[in-house]
Amino acid sequence: MNTRTRVLIAVTGVLTLAAAAVIYVGVAGARNQDTASAGTSGAVTLEGGRLLFRSTADADRGHVSSVSAADPGGARAVSTVSCSRVYAAGGTGICLRPETGLTTYQLAVLDGRLAVTQEIPLVGLPNRARVSPDGKRLAWTVFVTGDSYNGGRFSTRAGTLDLTTDNVEGTLEDFAVTVDGKPYKAADFNFWGVTFTRQPGRFYATMSTGSHRYLVEGDSTARTVKTLRDNVECPSLSPDETRVAYKAAIDGDPAKGWRVSVLDLASGTVTPLAETRNVDDQPAWLDDRTVAYALPRTQGHSDVWAVSADGSGAPRLLIPEAESPAALP
């Protein structure tokens, strides 16, 4: 091949590739522009009888939406608020979203009409979000990662915000930890998936250290955390506070996937639910008998499914094109 041919091939190729990239980016941008302007202001509130979620439909992706709890397949109300994760309880909403560009995120506290009342910068990639039943406490989980330069290793941090005192607890890692009743110290503590009880200051969460992923019970006032059980991830406390729904690593090995399960806190009995697909989500209770969770379908699209909390029956499609479900009782 002579130099002339080489230059010709290279120039043609590079120009074609540049054109392809520009067109692709332009089309993606135009599509996202339409999505960004979707929704109706005031269409979604945190009042009762509805299910709140994050839409994954092409037309209004990312927008906080709601459906009637009695008719989840029915008409959807779509708000103008966009979030990566959303949850609500007791008239307070939590919205995790990118701030500007790529590197910074924020937690927005939403009031009953989805107006932002407070913004907190988040350091790391937000992942889990919860609100206490009374709407007074909020919790989130972020992945804290470097980048290629630290081998892509990650760790998680779980934080809480108490709206009555405005006290922000950036990480639970400073709490006094007891494992199996004994005080325990380690550099590799990771917390994620907080779920609140009605009792002030009390919560459950996942704590990992070494190869264990424990269910822990925490007390924000005493700043203590104690382990209850191994192999429990992303717990979610039932409304009657007797059980915890969570994702259980199959054979204790996360590489094999997760099974949604329910743990009875008093007896320690574990009930695997009828859903046999891999659920990588923090489940949400719709009521004392039903657990909901998101299942990704194709890239960027998810559906919310529901399954009976006693292990019977079969999973049913609850809300198509949705994730981050929260019941507003």
């Binding site: 190729g13 980016v25 999505t35 350091v123 992945f143 996360p254 989500d281």
Partner: protein, 418 residues
């Protein structure tokens, strides 16, 4: 090749612009391919955590599984790639295959959708491509520049490579800004597609790289036996041991940045910027320090680089705080990389017979990478059990011992055996 020539100042001459002009187009062609490819791969690296967590909602453990596949894939393949390249005497073709594999993997990310397993497979293919291409590329550099200019050649190549790594994340942010990142995976897909286009352009630019295909060596020259025989040569063996010892003394970027962060309690959002600081130092200094290595000897420059690493560890132990700490630590860390990474290859190249050069380079690189992995694990453990101060003190002591050992191993001997 005699060990006695390694550190010797053979061709004294100024570090002038003219001396870089003598390098020949091939080094710049290889550098351009690396630059363009690095823009592409660092674009993906920059957005991948965000994509997995925010775009696909992967939980902590699933992310860990993907990440494990990502990092564990390359060491053995590098040796295989090196040997095959020597065996078929087509270093450019093997490197090109590696570049092409990584390019196609970028499209694979779009096709993999939300399946963690598929993403793991695609990322493994990407790493495999990187493993395949590194040793043949470095062997081509050693064959593209006169021996007394190898330090400059690697310096120029590594500097161009770093420019790519520097631009990659900026390109990703620019694409996301145009395509919109807040609401969906389209923005990420746009990054992957753009990254694919850039990587493919890099493969096309490889058209301008000339392969060095020496006449076919006598049969048996390139065999597994001959490859193993490389290690019987005292020079190669000493170099490999030195590379491993120095690898053992390096604790890993992540730890250095975490220790800095620990000391100063800066917001984690600034974390990626620490790497940018180091990279900036690296790209500015790689070519000048490579030229200096050609002038005063490669061994002193490399050992000086490790001296800079000791200084980094001592700074982490020192009472110094604030911007001075950051500037000095990151600057010296950049000096460490600029004085060691390419210079080691420039040291290795002439020691290795041309027929087995790619295999030899792959062996040295793999040995160093393995030692580096071991030291990261050990450092992590000592940090956990004995605390940061003790761990850094041990690390600094290890570098000192490693520098002494390397000096003994590689210092020019007056009476070298043939």
């Amino acid at each position: 090749m005699y060990l006695s020539t390694i550190g010797r100042r053979e061709h004294p001459g100024g570090v002038s612009k003219k001396s870089f002009a003598l390098l020949g187009g091939n080094v710049f062609a290889l550098g351009t391919v690396s630059l363009v490819t690095d823009v592409s791969s660092e674009m993906v690296t920059a957005v991948l955590p965000v994509y997995l967590v925010l775009g696909l909602h992967l939980g902590p453990a699933a992310y860990g599984v993907v990440d494990g596949l990502y990092t564990g894939a390359t060491a053995l393949l590098r040796l295989v790639g090196g040997y095959v390249a020597d065996r078929v005497r087509r270093r450019k073709a093997v490197a090109g295959l590696g570049y092409a594999m990584s390019a196609v993997a970028k499209l694979g990310l779009v096709a993999a959708g939300s399946s963690a397993t598929a993403i793991g497979v695609v990322l493994t293919a990407d790493r495999t491509g990187k493993g395949l291409r590194t040793a043949p590329r470095d062997a081509l550099i050693t064959l593209s520049a006169p021996e007394h200019m190898l330090g400059r050649a690697f310096g120029v190549h590594r500097a161009m490579d770093s420019v790519g790594a520097f631009l990659g994340p900026l390109a990703a942010v620019a694409v996301l800004a145009v395509a919109g990142s807040a609401t969906g995976v389209e923005g990420f897909d746009a990054v992957f597609v753009t990254s694919f286009c850039i990587a493919t352009a890099g493969v096309l630019l490889a058209l301008f790289v000339r392969d060095h295909r020496a006449p076919k060596p006598p049969s048996g020259t390139v065999s597994l036996r001959a490859a193993a025989g490389l290690l019987r040569g005292a020079g190669v063996r000493r170099l490999l041991i030195a590379a491993c010892v120095l690898g053992l003394a390096t604790i890993g970027d992540g730890f250095v940045y975490l220790l800095l962060q620990d000391k100063e309690d800066i917001a984690t959002g600034w974390f990626p910027l620490l790497a940018v600081g180091t990279n900036l130092g690296y790209l500015l200094l790689a070519a000048p320090l490579g030229a200096l290595a050609d002038r005063i000897g490669r061994l002193p420059v490399m050992l000086g680089g490790y001296g800079a690493l000791i200084a980094v560890y001592l700074l982490l132990l020192s009472p110094l705080t604030g911007w001075a700490l950051f500037a000095l630590t990151l600057g010296l860390y950049g000096v460490f990389y600029a004085a060691t990474d390419g210079v080691l290859m420039a040291l290795a190249g002439p020691l290795l017979p041309e027929a087995l050069r790619t295999t030899g380079i792959a062996i040295v690189q793999s040995g160093q990478a393995l030692a580096y992995f071991v030291s990261s694990v050990l450092f992590g453990l000592s940090w956990q059990f004995w605390g940061a101060t003790t761990a850094i003190t041990i690390a600094a002591g290890t570098v000192l011992v490693a520098v002494a050992a390397t000096f003994v191993l590689l210092v020019p001997r007056r009476k070298a055996r043939p």
